[in-house]
């Protein structure tokens, strides 16, 4: 599906530019986009390296395992195919809590470590496992308690009460997460039935 979207985005863009007679825009956009990709990636590097360093300490000291054991009932429910006490659980939990606090930058490295652990459990290394899809669903709909960036922008533009969107954001992201988990379950059910 990603294949199709990527191809469609590029082909449609070129076709539209051709009809409008503005091909120079495509040339510019291609290199501009590639540059943005690099910029974003290197922006990630500093944050990733820092949190992964810190998480290694949490891992080696047994802190992650402790956290995982305390909250394992919830994870067991969401990730039935991950064995009890597996290191993936600790990373999934840290990823979820960072998302909850609106620390998107801290959530990514933990999510990546969780993916690595889930990949170890994955039978087909090329195809995403159901557990990986669930982790992704939680991340894309992520419940946010503090939408930090948006509060900052509202302050910048002189809002009378910049934090009044905290409640609406919390409710809306909570609703979206519940929906995401149900849709994930539905697809997971169809997926496993087809591959049995």
């Amino acid at each position: 599906m990603l294949n199709a979207i990527w191809l469609a985005l590029i082909v449609i863009s070129i076709a539209v530019a051709a009809i409008n007679g503005r091909m120079e825009v495509i040339n510019q956009a291609a290199f501009e986009g590639a540059k943005t990709g690099v910029t974003v990636c290197f922006g990630l590097l500093s944050i990733l390296a820092f949190w992964m360093g810190l998480m290694r300490i949490a891992e080696k000291s047994g802190l992650l395992e402790l956290l995982a054991r305390a909250l394992s009932p919830i994870i067991q429910l969401l990730f039935p195919d991950v064995p009890k006490g597996h290191p993936a659980i600790g990373y999934i939990l840290s990823n979820m809590s960072a998302n909850l606090l609106g620390l998107g930058n801290a959530a990514t490295p933990m999510g990546l470590k969780a993916m690595e652990e889930l990949q170890k459990l994955n039978a087909d290394k090329q195809v995403a496992s159901p557990a990986m899809c669930t982790l992704l669903a939680i991340n894309t709909a992520s419940i946010t308690i503090i939408p930090t960036t948006m509060i900052a922008i509202r302050m910048q533009y002189g809002s009378v009460n910049p934090v009044e969107i905290v409640g609406t954001t919390l409710l809306s992201s909570f609703g979206a997460t519940i929906v995401a988990l149900f849709i994930d379950r539905w697809y997971r059910y169809r997926h496993t039935r087809r591959h049995r």
Partner: protein, 177 residues
Amino acid sequence: MYQWVSLISLWAIPITIAFVLLYGWRKQIPVYETFVDGAKGGLTTTIRILPHLIAMMVAVTMFRESGALELLLGMIRPVLDFLHFPEELVPLALLRPLTGTGSLAIATDLIAQYGPDSFLGRLAATMQGSTDTTLYVLTVYFGAVGIRNSAYALKVGLWSDLAGVIFSLLIVTYVFS
């Protein structure tokens, strides 16, 4: 409430850092060496993500700059009118799953244009805050472990983005009008 929230956002990261370090120290972990060893992982991960990110950014930038996005907006306009969805917010809703920085720019623009305390300003902020860049998350997360076939993950992500947009509209309408 505001002070409580800003206090949490201010303290959350320092407390996490201090707690992890002190816990490691108590368990007699060589904290400095362990940190450096872990941080190395950040470098390899970034290099692995880079090609995926470039591919996606090129496609999204082309789509926006070529005028294809404008065209798409024109086509779905009747549906929007039927649903009473504010047309001003369509670029935000459509771009949100594709690009985090792009949609952030649009949300900021809407807030600047209509004011942070207007209906559209509040809706833009809520929408930006309660959904995530599905395509980016998918690219980065699956790219990092070498997944080529994302199974049904993209469909779930896009449906939940739609749910986030609808919930934002309903809740902001209910709370603020």
